[in-house]
Subunit: 351 residues, 2 copies
DNA sequence: CTGAAAGCGCTAACAA
DNA sequence: TTGTTAGCGCTTTCAG
């Protein structure tokens, strides 16, 4: 019933536990003969070491924590793929913790991690997070943290981000080039790094093109899709209704499209839409969606790689590892200039 | 730098470690006064217990393992949400392990779990999995396993599934009612429980409606979206080209739509499509997609709840906990009878 | 009510 | 080359 342990293995082989331990770790102190004998018996008896026992002895738990707002989002699930691939290469496991965009949850999770449940943490902060004491505390307790995507600028550690400002600028500029002069911006937080940088990129583009920013065109969305649908609808109902939308996160896609349908606004004829999104289905939406596609997988991989560097070398300086990986503007039907009635499709090419 | 431990706490308070431990666990053997003193100091000094030290002492690691083929899939990411919600209620953490549809990976992961990295496992097997020794071995080593969605029938433990056979039958029947008489089925595995049950439901419906099943209409898809696109295109190019498609998993949506576009087949006029899918964007696709929506969140929750029951009560019989939670056929534009030229939209109502 | 001590499974310094 | 032994941080008898 119970898994065999090293002691029982030692008994079986009439050797001491330390010999077993060393043999299993392929130590040079042990003869080839004994090593083989031990490894064979271990395999035969199905011995699997208890990772937490070795973790206690000063070594690592071989778990890393990934703290993110949610999983049901292409960006985060692709990032997890990247993280997992690196973790696996390093013999590590991935503990997923969801904050559900709550600062309190985030604090609780990080606090718990001080107990050494994980050896290091990859963090993308919640939309509510504006303070960073909880993060600094974890770091100062010796648990390395690497940010990805949603960072806290004031925390001194590595940050893997994408070029939020520039890509938002480009997206807005693209809308302007396509003829939009009343462009709305849909954000999700007043404090979140990505939301702010994307907002700034948007504002910069408006300014460059001498378009007056309209406060009524800047919408702060919530965590609830139904609610967002209503908010966006209201945005579209106002007197000076926008003819372009920059949506700063993927989950706003559905409410935007539905609000347009319900307002009988045709995309892209009446209003053009661009969205920060990694949705695979972007190209088969009605119409296909112009996106700013983030390098989600690569961001996850880079963040994880950096964390493992810090985990391997003591005194590795995480401050120097920060990286900005650019996003790509993928132009599709939702921002096309196509005349009314023409079907708007992206090329049927799989990326 | 290092986190404080129970010994240092004891020193600080001039009490023994055992008293501290008991006080922290709110033991009745300890006076209220001491308890308060201990708890206050623990909070002040930011004491967080090391979970793996207690895990060693016979108690639990408070980690559960979730073994799934992938995360970038609405079904699995929603299921994770359900699992995580229950784990949190129980003070547990969730270790996500991806098999990437590989049997070898699955074996390696489960083997590793014998070392007690996790207290229990939620498992959705890979498309390649046809044997179950590795699962039985884990169970017989005392690690409880609960299946969800993709099960191994022959393993004696709890299984949380949806009504794959019935819903596939309904979907196929729906296509028939909408006028399809040459219906293709896209599967992903010859051995996988869900793929087979969905295939059987499809075949049953054909039989009931006296439609002869055509082997050329049954496609075994791969793990690669581009490849699937080509396979589906080939399916649509054959002489007796189908006018209806039942796609058994979500990730086939994009290749199906793109293959239709490239073959200049209009959905739903030339060909109707229904897909097992939990995509939020189903309703804003071009055209909106008729889906069999699985109760992903609930399945995750139920599976996790069952696992925790087994974790709490020793000798809880997991064989009796199995549950089948029905899916829903959500009819949208991709199977509509609408005449050519009419825009096909689902109602702009958010679910 | 509080404390001393054993031990969970493993590693590593030190002995032999 | 192998064995002895002392912990890692915590819980839990068993004594006091």
């Amino acid at each position: 019933m119970k898994n065999i342990n090293i002691k029982e293995l030692a008994c079986e082989l009439k050797l001491s536990v330390s010999t077993i331990s060393k043999a299993l770790h392929d130590s040079h102190e042990i003869s080839e003969h004994t090593k083989r004998r031990v490894q064979e018996t271990a395999a035969r008896l199905n011995y699997v070491p208890n990772p937490y026992a070795s973790s206690l002895r000063g070594r690592k738990s071989k778990n890393i924590g990934v703290v993110i707002p949610e999983v049901a989002d292409s960006f985060f699930s692709l990032a997890i793929n990247g993280i997992e691939s690196v973790a696996k290469e390093n013999g590590y496991h991935v503990l997923i913790c969801l904050t559900h965009e709550s600062f309190e949850n985030e604090k609780t999770i990080l606090k718990e991690f001080q107990g050494r449940r994980v050896d290091g943490v990859l963090l993308s902060v919640s939309r509510e997070t504006s303070k960073s004491d909880h993060i600094n505390e974890l770091i100062s307790n010796g648990v390395p943290v690497v940010f990805f995507d949603r960072v806290c600028d004031e925390v001194q550690t590595a940050k893997i981000t994408t070029d939020d400002f520039e890509s938002s600028y480009k997206a807005t500029e693209h809308l302007i080039h396509q003829g939009c002069d009343k462009i709305a911006f849909l954000g999700i937080s007043k404090t979140l790094s990505i939301s702010n940088k994307r907002l700034e990129g948007y504002l910069k583009a408006l300014k460059e093109y001498k378009i007056k920013a309209d406060r009524k065109h800047i919408l702060l969305c919530t965590d609830d899709t139904k609610q967002n649908y209503l908010l966006i609808k209201k945005l579209l109902q106002q007197v000076n209704s926008p003819n372009g939308i920059v949506a700063s996160v993927e989950k706003l896609t559905t409410p935007v499209y539905k609000a347009c349908v319900s307002m009988k606004l045709k995309i892209p004829e009446d209003i053009k839409v661009v969205c920060f999104s990694n949705l695979e289905t972007a190209s088969i939406l009605s119409p296909s969606l112009t996106t700013i596609t983030q390098p989600a997988f690569e961001m996850g991989r880079s963040a994880a790689k950096l964390l493992f560097k810090a985990l391997q070398k003591t005194n590795f300086n995480l401050n120097e590892g920060s990286l900005v990986i650019p996003s790509a503007l993928v132009v599709r039907g939702s921002t096309s200039k196509a005349k009314k009635g023409m079907p708007v499709f992206s090329k049927p090419v799989l990326q």
